[in-house]
Amino acid sequence: MLDTRAGCCADGAVALAEAVDAPPGEPAVRLSLLVEGLRCGGCLATVERAAASVPGVLRARANLTERRLAVEVAKDGPDAEAVIAALAVAGYAARPLDRAALEALDRDAEGRGMLLRVGVAGFAAMNVMLLSVAIWAGAEGAMGRLLLLVSMVVSVPAVLWCGMPFFQSAWRALSARRLTMDVPISLAILLALGVSVHATLTGLGEGWFEAATALVFFLLAGRYLEHRAKRAARSAAVELAELRVATATRLVEDGREETVDVDALVPGDRVLVRPGERLPADGTVVDGSSDVDRALVTGEAVPETVRAGDDLLAGMTNLTAPLTVRLTAAGEDTYLAALARLVAAAEGGDGRTRRLADRAAAVYAPGVHVIAALATLAWLGAGAGWHTAILVGCATLIITCPCALGLAIPAVQTVAGGRLFRAGVYLKDGGALESLAEATVICFDKTGTLTEGRPALVDAPAAEDPAWGPAMALAAASSHPLAKALVAAGAERGLAVPPPAEASEEVGAGVEGTVDGRACRLGRPGWAGPDAIGEGAETTVWLSVDGEPRGAFRFRDRLRADAADVIAALAAAGCRPVLLSGDGPVPVRRVAEACGIAEAHAAMTPEAKRAFVERLRAAGETVAMVGDGYNDAPALAAADVALAPATAVGISEGQAGIVYAGAALGPVARARAIAVSARRRMVENLWASGAYNVIAVPVAVAGFATPIIAALAMSSSSLVVTVNALRLGAAGKGDAP
């Protein structure tokens, strides 16, 4: 996958130069690059130095969280391609971010704004609390009024500005005729503020300013923790768009070639696709034959041979020979665009399971509103004045504000995220944790998920066999995955890698050339060896010298070492495993049997995978999906929880709520175990924060609620849920890395 992407950089760079070109008079131009494999502290220094070594680069700063490199270059300095070349030398594949990706990243203005609000709310809460201590200590009369007045000046603007996210979200929910947790939260904050301003101006009743500011501060802190967990997932979701190429080579009537913007292509155009390039749109081959990487549709790593008359889809990579393609669909009508829409629809839909917090809110929010209303009515009925009755209702709403509820779940997610990280799992979306704990079915992709995803040599002549020399020389001249695997396997056996032979590639058959003066062929049975015998799952490559078969090399996509154990563990934990693959029935059945999966489906298109997941969900199952290819993206987006290995292509990783270190499947089983205990902790937290209302509500309804009781109750319940969440981390100290 990696090497094919390098080919699209040159195209993308054109778009980039426009996107970030500095306005006139600006001394520096800012470039943004997405760097693959930027995963550790050592990488940071290497990448920054590599970029800074390009003459004309003023400043390079890498961002580990977003795998992004920001480069400032002098005007008339080097362009993105020069920096990408320097990074390639250092061993990192980089791509320029296109306009859409840049916008998505800049949208974290939201996260920064939220952090500012946390800071301002913290400032207000601390200062108002100081003043309130004086009031509780007995400051009365003019002194009390003065302290209240100062509190009001600090808290009114702070609460109104900091609480904006809650007010907006509550308003949206009310407009849609739903009740979320933000409705009682907003109500409590605004009531506390309103009652306090009234008390300050009239001198009647008590001030709740410290309750209002502390509420906003605690809730914002919880909200910010959630936002940070979600952010990485969102910035990766734009990657499907990056498969689109920026320009294409169009063939015009008199045989000339012209480079056009991909948006200018229309069905019926003939385009030339050179080796290493991606298809700019869907079309039919009219001239040429070549090997094409169709992983986008099938997920299979081994390329397929296409000839005139075969259909190709946008985003596929042409590998070996130039192709002339007549377009059948372009722009928004291509398969790639449809795939992107499918993903977006599954993502944006109300599909995912309702979170624990939402379910709690559905019970909690109407409950407290009814209690507050009843309390007001009861006091009125008992003969109290309007003023007293309404104050009691307000006090009830303020004291039942679900402050701990707002922390109950993000706190567990943050701690569980740390524990998962030590177990080799990266939690990107906190909600994924709940769904994983509840999953009843877990669907696996085959290639790259259950198997290693690249062909490995399983049967070959002994290392001393003379077949190895010419075979490696021919293989070194080809970029076919099987050829690369053969060279790697030879090197592993201690054989010297010979210089590439003078060879030509026969599309769909193999490589032909002269080694040591003899005509050699390396390729499929029938072309370089005897006709296919027992056509099974193995992919066999033959070497022939002067037309005589000399040796066979068998390849197989090896099963991951711990696949069977992990499947057994998951099944024992109540999670039914299912295999969904785009590959043919024979290899799928073999893999399913090898790892003990009873239910396996072969030859599934991305759409079929998605439909299968949706059917399961409609049948009431909670579905986890593990996959790594472009063809898994719609199914990953449709599932309740998506997991992807860190080696997955960008789009799958972007869809996944959980990303695990890709060398083994073990982290999947560990993640499930941690998710189950985290969910238990969340439920405990919800109960704990609910239980405090059992004490607080009668006090408030009886009219005894004072600001000091509210402050004590809120802080202590928040403390309880935080400590309970930390217990989860302590339990995980022994996790294997």
Partner: protein, 60 residues
């Protein structure tokens, strides 16, 4: 009690200084890459963002 006329502004002022420092640190992108910051502290040769210049040598 007139001392309050001094103390309240002083305490608010100190709080504002803290809040201003925080706002500055957020604006200066200090919270944009928390993972990176954690890794950078272990890099002996790390320089402040503005002082990063071209250098030939790799760290030992």
């Amino acid at each position: 009690m007139t001392v309050l006329g001094l103390l309240i502004p002083v305490s608010l002022g100190l709080g504002l200084v803290g809040a201003a420092a925080f706002i500055w640190s957020v604006r200066a992108e200090q919270y944009d890459d928390l993972e990176g910051a954690a890794a950078r502290i272990l890099d002996e040769d790390d320089l402040p963002p503005d002082a990063r210049e071209p250098r030939g040598e790799e760290p030992g």
